[in-house]
């Protein structure tokens, strides 16, 4: 009963906030709706018993990716009128993309639910007592170890690539030299003097 209520609540909010992400005019509001969608998707995952994936979704997407989105979007000065004019022009391409994605999802689900993996899974369900993290870890670090490492390498290359592409040496930057700052002692910066009255101090 409560599970059904929770499911419909999460599902409804996911769809609604997904739509609002596109529909809202203010880009910051869009990001906030997107975050809400992530959250409710995490809720749906908890309902199907994938609590590890749900937590990762929140940590990675809400905690890191969406913060960076928000960071960028916040600082943009967007001309809303111009953006709305663009919607009509790209509507056809957008629609085509959406249709293609929807078709792919349907084909994937159809193939999966009648394919050998799902049939085999029905025959041998995963032991419910094994926690999620352990089940994923057992697979990821044994059978799929090389795929997992390869995925890590791809990410590493992407990260290095992003740094290489955006990093440039700029002249005239006043960088802090921490070791020099730490090496500075009070006696280098101050001096004790005993000035004679009426003579002043020469520095």
């Amino acid at each position: 009963m409560i599970q059904a209520l929770a499911f419909y609540l999460f599902a409804f909010v996911v769809v609604l906030s997904g739509a609002m992400t596109i529909a809202s005019r203010n880009p910051v509001h869009s990001v906030m709706w997107l975050i809400l969608a992530f959250f409710n998707a995490a809720g749906l995952m908890i309902l199907v018993g994938a609590e590890f994936i749900a937590m990762l979704l929140v940590i990675v997407y809400v905690g890191a990716v969406a913060v960076l989105f928000l960071f960028v979007v916040m600082m943009l000065d967007i001309d809303f009128a111009e953006m709305r004019a663009g919607v009509a022009r790209y509507f056809g391409i957008g629609l085509a993309l959406a249709v293609a994605l929807a078709a792919e999802v349907m084909i994937a689900i159809g193939a999966w639910s009648t394919g050998p993996i799902q049939l085999a899974r029905r025959a041998a369900p995963i032991d419910a007592r094994v926690p999620n993290i352990q089940a994923i870890g057992n697979l990821l670090y044994t059978r799929y170890l090389f795929v997992f490492e390869a995925a890590g390498l791809v990410l590493l290359v992407a990260m290095i690539g992003a740094i290489v592409l955006t990093h440039r040496q700029r002249g005239g930057v006043k960088a802090q030299n921490i070791s020099r700052q730490n090496a500075r002692r009070p006696q280098d910066a101050t001096r004790n003097t005993r000035p004679v009255v009426g003579q002043g101090v020469e520095l």
Partner: protein, 349 residues
């Protein structure tokens, strides 16, 4: 409690009702603790600055926080004309809520925890990564320059230190072999047979305990890392435009977060509800009292640091996070997992 309600309501609603009562049983004492700890904080600073601190309202000024609360409750909530109204009001609510939801997984005694989930520590990470939204939104929605600078600083700072915190937590998880906070606490019992409860006597995890303490200062934006509300540069940072209850929610959320970080320090490295020494008579004292004592100890450290340490420069803050904490904690994950590989091969697989 579930079974008590179950007789009249059926399991689902009994669970629902019992959980709500449990939530209140945790959240209300936390709020009371926040009120008292603000008072304690002010008293400790005052003592360190050779002042008296709050001493007028009630005996020893004990009711000061309640008087302040009543005052802000009666004030008018002012929303600046140029502000984004919805997000402006949403921001303090997010901060406050996020500060409270993490308490769901903190174990107070053996078996006394609202949600004994096996991804407890990930839940803590997930919830604490949300804390930054309250501040970013407050800064942006205020539509005012100092709050906005503060929001940018907060976003960069919290994201940077979360990375280090993540790695520190991973080394703890590796050692205890579980993400469940109760499991982590029981794994700390009688460390190495030294009759001391807590990872602090573990030479591999002690540096992580120190780094976690410093990172938790940065994560809660306490001094010396309180650059988001550096009053000499940014007026009051992201809270500048806030007044009355909205301001109070930020204030309460901040302190609830501080207590939470103290509780996490206690739970992850200092044995949580276990007594500090593994000696049978000490176990007669209820676990919640040990936990509470440890929280208060860490809170004293937080106040002490705030009263004595000067504020970091922003580049120093970033350097500490990215160039020191991140490499060291990353290396420590390798070190801990390497040691465990050599000493515990095949255990628990």
């Amino acid at each position: 409690m579930i079974s008590w309600f179950e007789s009249s309501l059926g399991y689902d609603w009994a669970f629902f009702l019992a959980t709500i009562i449990d939530i209140l049983a945790i959240a209300l004492p936390v709020m009371l603790a926040v009120a008292m700890i603000i008072y304690a904080d002010r008293k400790i600073w005052a003592a360190m600055a050779l002042r008296r601190g709050p001493n007028v309202v009630g005996p020893f000024g004990l009711l000061q926080s309640f008087a302040d609360g009543l005052k802000v409750f009666l004030q008018e909530t002012i929303v600046p004309a140029a502000a984004n109204r919805a997000l402006f009001l949403l921001a303090p609510i997010i901060t406050f809520t996020v500060a409270l939801i993490v308490w769901a997984v903190i174990p107070f005694q053996p078996g006394v925890v609202l949600a004994d989930i096996n991804v407890g520590l990930l839940y803590v990470l997930a919830a604490s990564s949300l804390g930054v939204y309250g501040i970013i939104l407050a800064g942006w929605a205020s539509n005012s320059k100092y709050p906005f600078y503060s929001a940018l600083r907060a976003a960069a700072q919290m994201v940077s230190y979360e990375v280090a915190i993540g790695f520190i937590l991973i080394s703890v998880v590796l050692w205890s072999g579980t993400f469940n906070l109760s499991g982590i606490v029981t794994a700390q019992q009688n460390m190495f047979g030294l009759h001391i409860n807590g990872y602090i006597v573990n030479p591999l995890l002690f540096p992580m305990a120190v780094m976690f303490f410093i990172s938790s200062l940065a994560e809660t934006q306490r001094a010396p890392f309180d650059l988001t509300e550096a009053e000499s540069e940014l007026v009051a940072g992201y809270q500048t435009e806030y007044s009355s209850m909205a301001f109070a929610l930020f204030w309460l959320g901040e302190y609830a977060n501080v207590i939470l970080m103290c509780a996490l320090n206690a739970t992850l490295f200092w044995g949580g509800w276990l007594p500090p020494v593994d000696w049978a008579p000490l176990y007669y004292v209820p676990g919640i009292i040990w936990l509470f004592a440890k929280i208060l100890f860490f809170f004293f450290l937080f106040s002490w640091v705030k009263a004595t340490v000067p504020r970091y420069r922003y580049d120093q803050l970033m350097r500490l996070g990215w160039k020191i904490f991140l490499p060291v904690s990353l290396f420590w994950v390798f070190l801990v997992s390497g040691v465990l590989m050599l000493t515990r091969v095949g255990v628990g697989s």
